[in-house]
């Protein structure tokens, strides 16, 4: 049997350091004062302004209108992330369900049309989407922020592949057991897709959480600011001799990272369980 030796560990340690160090530095730096950072640059040594900085970031009212706090932005980011994740999963599961289980004309053709839109990044259709939302009067609304991006070719594709791998007999057994199309979906297909849903949830949540361009276009009301935009905003106050609040920017970056990390940690268990226990 192969025994791990020191060299293997070294490689792993170096790898982990490369991944972790920037995060650690961001955190430790955020606990210093802005002036310190400006003079001494990044540091690994923790400072003593942790509570202070984070409290400011979370609660200080900022922006032009002076109404946005870090908490508001956190809330907006969460709404966006959850809205994206839940909406995309629901929509793509339903689409995949229709494509796989219902025989209608041109189902395959439709699937391939959906599939090819995978190749179109958001940026390509961002202006037409904006135009439509604008005409519908949905600028500066959560609906306008979330709904246009919900259709997900990736999600539909993965759920389709998954549904195809579910044995036909399961559907037949359910039909004999008196489960109609809706019951079969809710009682059998959704529970079977748990692990797929978890995976999609992580991916889509992070995708929504990290949106920058789209929210910037769709909202100009500061009440809709997300954390990702907030970071940028802090660094912009580059007027006169004022030093940008580096500490606050770092603190916000750390905060912005926490929910996605928490999500991965929580769902990881499910993930591994789902992959090792073969269910079907």
């Amino acid at each position: 049997m192969y025994r791990t030796n020191f060299r293997d560990h070294l490689v792993l340690i170096i790898g982990s350091l490369m991944m972790l160090l920037p995060v650690v530095v961001a955190f430790t730096t955020s606990t210093h004062e802005a002036a310190d950072i400006h003079m001494n640059g990044l540091t690994l040594v923790p400072g003593d302004h942790f509570a202070e900085t984070y409290e400011t970031v979370l609660t200080r009212q900022g922006g032009f209108t002076g109404k946005v706090t870090g908490l508001t932005m956190l809330g907006n980011s969460l709404i966006l992330g959850l809205g994206f994740a839940i909406g995309k999963i629901v929509l793509s599961m339903l689409a995949a369900y229709a494509i796989v289980y219902f025989r209608f004309r041109a189902a395959t053709a439709m699937f391939w049309i959906i599939f090819t839109t995978l190749l179109l990044p958001l940026e390509v259709r961002i202006l037409p989407s904006y135009e439509v939302m604008h005409k519908l009067g949905l600028i500066n609304t959560y609906t306008g922020l979330i709904v246009p991006l919900l259709a997900s070719a990736t999600g539909t594709f993965f759920f389709r592949q998954f549904f195809k791998s579910v044995p036909d007999e399961l559907l037949e057994a359910a039909r004999i057991d008196g489960a109609g199309p809706f019951k079969f979906f809710i009682d059998i297909l959704v529970p079977l897709s748990r692990t797929m849903i978890a995976a999609m949830f992580i991916i889509m949540f992070v995708y929504g959480w990290n949106q920058y361009l789209w929210p910037m276009l769709m909202t100009n009301d500061e009440g809709f600011y997300t954390l990702v935009r907030g970071i940028k905003q802090i660094l912009i106050v580059w007027v006169g001799s004022q030093i940008p609040d580096y500490n606050e920017a770092f603190a916000m970056a750390v905060l912005a990272m926490l929910p996605p990390v928490a999500l991965v940690v929580i769902f990881q268990n499910w993930f591994i369980k789902g992959l090792t226990e073969s269910d079907k």
Binding site: E172, A173, R175, I176, A179, L192, D279
Partner: protein, 367 residues
């Protein structure tokens, strides 16, 4: 409890493949019918048409006198056991059993009572709270049976329910299915390609070939009176010996050998002679049947299987464990245990067979 009438049923798949052709079976209340035939002969297709999982292209299916051609599977009052069991993987055994009842709006206490009853009958009580993946193949099979039983359906449909089990378990489960069916008295339609399973389970057997019925009858009828070479070779193990020959004035010519048997007039000179391995006896009497040249012997313990050739065609025979086979022997079969088939159509020729008087000399006769 119901009778099932399958009336001139056809199945044509999209693309034109005809999987079932003009099949009519009338199944009595409480009868155990086994559909048997080689792979691809349309057994599953026929069963699935009765279940409502496959559309009926032509003909009628009635369950308990009710025409069900356009009735949803759930409304047909049938339960089905699948080859891969098709248990719901995310539900416990208890939930698997209860699911069909729940969907029908059966009251909770009633569901519990029925699940408990089925679990007791199938000895599933210790596993009720396990997920299917934590069960052995045999236990999963029993859960699949249980899911059918709790519904108290008018009919059970089985599609090769035992073929995923090992040989020993298959024999046990076979017995269990038979016992359960007897006890519940539920009309059953059972698909298998295992002729032994078919023989042991069936009240009546339906032998299918290329989508058509070859023969319907009790296992013994089919064994003793096969209607065609197809049935004859399919039912019975080891399979019936079928020898190509010609009918001549002096008896049947099998290759260069002559078997001195007379029949009534035959339309067809080219015939197939069939006889079962267990009806063969060997003698050294030169006036007896044709010459049997020994190939090899298989020991089965209680018996041995003797393989050889007659007129260049393979023949096998069972013999007692003590029997000492010779390189060359004479083969005899009681006349009433010999079957004649038309070589052209494969159909049984029902002509009486009588032994011919030996010509008087003791030398081997050649055609």
């Amino acid at each position: 409890m119901a009778k099932i009438d399958i009336d001139h049923v056809f199945k044509t798949y999209a693309g034109g493949a005809q999987a079932v052709r003009d099949v009519s079976i009338s199944i009595r209340d409480g009868e155990f019918i086994v559909l048997v035939g080689p792979s691809g002969c349309g057994k599953s297709t026929l069963l699935r048409m009765v279940a409502g999982l496959e559309e009926i292209s032509a003909g009628e299916v009635r369950i308990g006198g009710r025409l069900v051609n356009n009735v949803e599977p759930a409304e047909r009052d049938i339960a089905m056991v699948f080859q891969n069991y098709a248990l719901y993987p995310h539900m416990s055994v208890r939930q698997n059993l209860a699911y069909g009842l729940k969907n029908r709006g059966t009251p909770k206490p009633e569901i519990e009572a029925r699940v408990a009853e089925a679990a007791r009958m199938l000895e599933l009580e210790p596993y009720l709270d396990r997920k299917p993946r934590a069960l052995s193949g045999g236990q999963r099979q029993r859960v699949a049976m249980g899911r059918a039983i709790v519904r108290h359906p008018a009919a059970f449909l089985f599609d090769e329910p035992l073929s995923n089990l090992d040989a020993k378990l298959r024999v046990t489960m076979r017995g269990e299915i038979k016992r359960l069916q007897r006890r519940l008295g539920t009309t059953s339609l059972y698909v298998t390609h295992d002729q032994l399973e078919a023989m042991t389970l069936a009240d009546r057997l339906v032998v299918l070939n290329k989508g058509e019925i070859e023969q319907i009858g009790t296992p013994l009828e089919i064994y003793h009176e096969p209607a065609s070479t197809f049935v004859a070779s399919f039912i019975g193990s080891p399979a019936m010996n079928l020898l190509q020959g010609r009918s001549t004035e002096n008896g049947f010519a099998i290759g260069p050998d002559l078997w001195r048997l007379a029949t009534g007039p035959l339309d067809d000179a080219a015939i197939t002679i069939g006889f079962r391995p267990e009806d063969v006896t060997f003698t050294r009497d030169m006036r007896a049947g044709p010459e049997f040249l020994l190939d090899y012997v298989e020991e089965l313990g209680a018996q041995k299987l003797v393989h050889g050739t007659v007129g260049g065609q393979a023949v096998s025979a069972t013999a007692t464990a003590e029997f000492q086979p010779q390189e060359s022997m004479r083969l005899t079969v009681p006349e009433h245990r010999i079957f004649l088939f038309s070589t052209a159509t494969g159909k049984r020729l029902r002509t009486p067979i009588t032994p011919m008087q030996p010509a008087g000399d003791f030398s081997p006769v050649k055609a």
